[in-house]
Symmetry: C2
Subunit: 422 residues, 2 copies
Amino acid sequence: MKNHEAQINTWLKENRARGARLLQILVRENSTRGNESSAQAILIEKCRQLGLTLDIWEIGSEELKNHPAYCCDRHDFEGNPNLVAVLKGTGGGKSLILNGHIDVVPVGNESSWERDPFSGHIECGKLYGRGATDMKGGTAALLMALESIIASGIKLKGDVIFQSVIEEESGGAGTLAAVLRGYCADGAIIPEPTNMKIFPKQQGSMWFRITVKGKAAHGGTRYEGVSAIEKSLKVIQRLQRLEKDRNDKISDPLYQKIPIPIPINIGKITSGEWPSSVPDTAVIEGRMGVAPNETMQSAQAEMEACLNELNEQDSWFKDHPLTIEWFGGRWLPGNMESSHPLMKELSASFREVNGEEPVVEASPWGTDGGILSAVGNTPVVVFGPGTTEIAHDANEYIILDEMFAASEIIALTILKWCGVQE
Amino acid sequence: MKNHEAQINTWLKENRARGARLLQILVRENSTRGNESSAQAILIEKCRQLGLTLDIWEIGSEELKNHPAYCCDRHDFEGNPNLVAVLKGTGGGKSLILNGHIDVVPVGNESSWERDPFSGHIECGKLYGRGATDMKGGTAALLMALESIIASGIKLKGDVIFQSVIEEESGGAGTLAAVLRGYCADGAIIPEPTNMKIFPKQQGSMWFRITVKGKAAHGGTRYEGVSAIEKSLKVIQRLQRLEKDRNDKISDPLYQKIPIPIPINIGKITSGEWPSSVPDTAVIEGRMGVAPNETMQSAQAEMEACLNELNEQDSWFKDHPLTIEWFGGRWLPGNMESSHPLMKELSASFREVNGEEPVVEASPWGTDGGILSAVGNTPVVVFGPGTTEIAHDANEYIILDEMFAASEIIALTILKWCGVQE
């Protein structure tokens, strides 16, 4: 085994340029929602070159759409397929899913970027571009891990199932489709940007849309109307209080160092059409975090109770009640015990490569791990390069050294988990 | 004179259906910004039938665009002309401008309307539709007043200059163009919806756009970003305080009964692109009221001082300062003395028609009167049917009885002001 580990270490060292180049061409393909095909094409070709068994399909079957965990507002998946590529084992080992998502979030305010958001520019060991961290860097780390094993001539006993899915950022329909297609395993690693921490538990989350009614009027006699913006302030302040109350109750030691374990993020507000009119409608959209030990339903009920409280206490809302929709993104929480064997193997590999103990925490955000574990019955651990701090920000980047370290740790974990045919 | 007044009263009574029909076809033409032509066509044909001297032109000359009072973000005026139609007097009388605007504000949330926003539906003496009150009702009242005089065979000494301008809702470029074309007079009446009150002073106003910077981040670790929405709350609260401070200083008795004499209306907010990202930019647009006795510049300076204060006191704004633009709409305040002769004639006509004293107040909103008086040196009084309460709201309507009363009061004022050739 020691020999294999040395081979992998050497191969990864010698192929850094190859790995950086793979990530660069991936980042250069804008794969925001609905535009995933060209980035997927790069991965398909890479997996073909690696000799993996390819499964490329457009998601959207009736079975998928009728599944209770399906939560998606996209209607057209045509031309933007899911990819699963299997490295078949010789038998007798445990199987492992390596899951990455190809979709990236929008670039935001383009003027905040110092370069083209899809530049793939490399400087001082960092590679820049939307998706570099979330999570094309993780995906490249997975493929480099697989390539290091294959190139070293190592034969695995268990199957490795590489997945590049669409729709993670919008609720996980891509991973759900893969689960329903039969892809389950004895364990799974998702290299979302954990800043090289190991997250056995993942926060779930779901999107909401609150509609606030006002009463239009001329801005010059604004007292004759009711401003949907002013009423929204009340709603936002109430949600801030709910966030505090919910987080005060979190006692899981894995969340100890996280300032807000299950945040309520107000991501979007739109109200008004005309500067000199009192706006009659405001729409607030956001994301509610769900604790590993709670259900989506109970979290939903807490927010709905808050809004009902406002609807009862505020005389305007009494007659013009706030409404809420749970639309779009929806990620089930994940809850692997810290003592699970996959945690043991991953932690050991981390120590071997980095020479120190890994930090084990609960993930501050939802991943497709919730679907994989809850629906696919596959235990999931989340571990990868890059930090969430810059994941959805302008000038997103990944530190390439970290990507290669993750690649090596994952490669060693694969050897231990799947077993090597000597 | 009494005979003329009786003639007008009789004609207006006999031609109610004609007046209602004129307003109905006007309301049925959507004349939101950029779509004014078809409603103007109705007025052009009406003025032609009345035998007025027509002046129809597309605004947008270099002289207009370079004028200091020009404030307009519209580039294309093609196909949507201004209209001036003159009833030439026999000489020796005072001239009078009758000014109305043809542009209407957007319909807002269409689902709040019980009928098509441009239905022109008549029920229980009310005519419904966007613009019925603001201010096609006023414009119809002007034309019915003129028609009653012409149809009664009355010859006026002074000129009456009827104007149907574009762009009132966005800063008055239409009226400014008419002034620059040479249309000034000894007095002017603008029948904006004053609820039949007489407004010798008009509040000025101007639009602003404040940009609030944040720092994007993944919503799951929202504490790593800075929410532009949360920072906007601070800005809005500061503007609410500024509004209070400014209004506490208003002592003009004409504003005594107005809850907020010079409001700061937040008309629009847009922030964020994605429910699970922390938004990095928010844009707040609104309208700031300007008191009759203050300059646009001093009002602007007060708001800018507020933002500068936030920029100094808030550690985030210190490094990411709030910025403000004064864009789009801009209406100069108007300041006619209550003792002006036009006030006297209008008040006398009001008493004759309604049998009671008129209510004299300061207008709670800006009108094109500011441009007419400040640039065109034409004393302006604002008086018309309809209430601002429903002016920019869903289900806008006008009470037809009120429109006809306004028409009669304006007709009698014309006789007194311009003088009748016996």
